[in-house]
Symmetry: C2
Amino acid sequence: MPTSQPIPTLDDVARSAGVSTATVSRCLNTPGQVAKPTMERVMKAVEVLGYTPNFGARSMASKRTHTIGAIIPTMENAIFARGLQAFQEELHKLGYTLLVSSTGYRPEVEEEQVRALVSRGADALLLIGFDRSPETYAYLGKRNVPALVSWAYAPDHSLPSIGFDNRTSMQELAQHVISLGHRDIAVITAVLRGNDRAALRLAGIRDAMEQSGHAFGDLRVIETPYGISHGERALDQLMDGGNRPTVIMCGNDVLAAGALKRAKERGLGVPKDLSITGFDDIELARIVTPALTTVHVPHREMGRKAAQELVSILEKRGAGHSVALETKLMIRDSLSLPSR
Amino acid sequence: MPTSQPIPTLDDVARSAGVSTATVSRCLNTPGQVAKPTMERVMKAVEVLGYTPNFGARSMASKRTHTIGAIIPTMENAIFARGLQAFQEELHKLGYTLLVSSTGYRPEVEEEQVRALVSRGADALLLIGFDRSPETYAYLGKRNVPALVSWAYAPDHSLPSIGFDNRTSMQELAQHVISLGHRDIAVITAVLRGNDRAALRLAGIRDAMEQSGHAFGDLRVIETPYGISHGERALDQLMDGGNRPTVIMCGNDVLAAGALKRAKERGLGVPKDLSITGFDDIELARIVTPALTTVHVPHREMGRKAAQELVSILEKRGAGHSVALETKLMIRDSLSLPSR
């Protein structure tokens, strides 16, 4: 039988066990997915033929490209930059190359980019948040591409996530804002469509308001693309209307920096006349004057852990574990008691 | 002869002309690189066989992945972000997907990433600056991968560039600084190794000093990685030494923002006690207080034009044209007459 062939192949094992090569692969790689009798037949053939699972693993591994894809909403501002850089550095240590693609916050572009990365041979993908088309999830499942979600955390989801709870993180900041006495709150948020992180942060503010038992004015919400200039314009919209807020809570530090800049240009004292808060704690938050009260996201730790988990999923062929990282309130000078 | 075969192939043309298929490809794609007698022999075979260059072009085009790779030094700060986003948006309009890889400013990583992107099927590459190993250039030439350089401009180089003149741009700013009366100048620059943009900016400052005819103290130069915190530390080094500068010219806005932040923390008035300048005019430059005097780089225009040129090289198979974009001095409040 197989003795004429110096190194038995996967085909030999399949033929000998009377199963397909795919089944042999599954037995070796994801034994949990194979019926016990099949498993036993295959493992017996492996033994009889002297097929070396190591060799098999290596030959399958050689099909790997050691390339990981990441699809992020934007490269333009610093929100994803630091976490992604840490993700890349960790991947590099582990022997993987990172290829990044950005959707420009257009959810419809993501599916196209998932396909592009998979067909360019990406072994696995990092995705941001959970808000995407069912088609994209179906495609990933069908192609059996390991994927991990970051910048969000949802342990019950089919994909593992290494991130943080956007809703409770923002809720905690809002509770602090309310505890200072603010009742006229306005929000500048990223466009909510396709962005679960933004939607959850807004929900966190509403949660804190409801749970506080206080009476509030209408929560004015301005939805705008990310960007300094968008934050500037949103500040104008909020301050030109009647019933000015005493605090503007922004969905991220970039919008907050824009709002802060414009408030100062309008002659408003921050925080004397108006408090402004951010989210993310990117470097910008410490650079502006006054420095921003914000929510610290452990970007580097998140990127590093996401890289480790994704490579572990790939190499150990497990399902992956979700991890929630702690965020932290950063109380700085842009927030104080309300002016009135 | 070829009439038995319904559609003549590149092989048929090569055999008939007595050349390799690679030579036929070159005749069709980059005719300028082929000796005239060879060219004539091949084109005659094309004609006799009825080989349709269009069909050939299409069949080559179908091998294209419509993926463009870009390798940038870092994703972590905003220097490349805006230009790259514009590059991606323009590529998307033209039907291409962008995959980005970053070296973390380690030149030795770039060659690895060039290989990864090419073996993942990138049709063409965007590279930053010219300072890279001869091996990387040789690899690109051998694999015949179209590549374009950006963030730099060198019309005589073998690769086309869409960028700006780092040296004269910084020289112009330095001339302005000197014209205000500054004679004690210090520089905080990015690490020079593997970074021709940083080296050229530093050279531009020296040019302006030499050409001014004035006498200067020693030019103190601190070389440091990019990053706010590195700018902060460099400011301390410069101000803790004797012979304090009246102006610190920084290799980019990120370092300048860090230096500015630290100067203010040390109780120095900017620009009253110390002037600080940047380079790039990223959003950060307008956000800090006082706003940074800097050199405006037309990042969006550069990204857009680079995308158009690279796709044109790919689709029209030309050699590509180099374009120098204009930078512009942005005089803001961080620079004034010297304090002494």
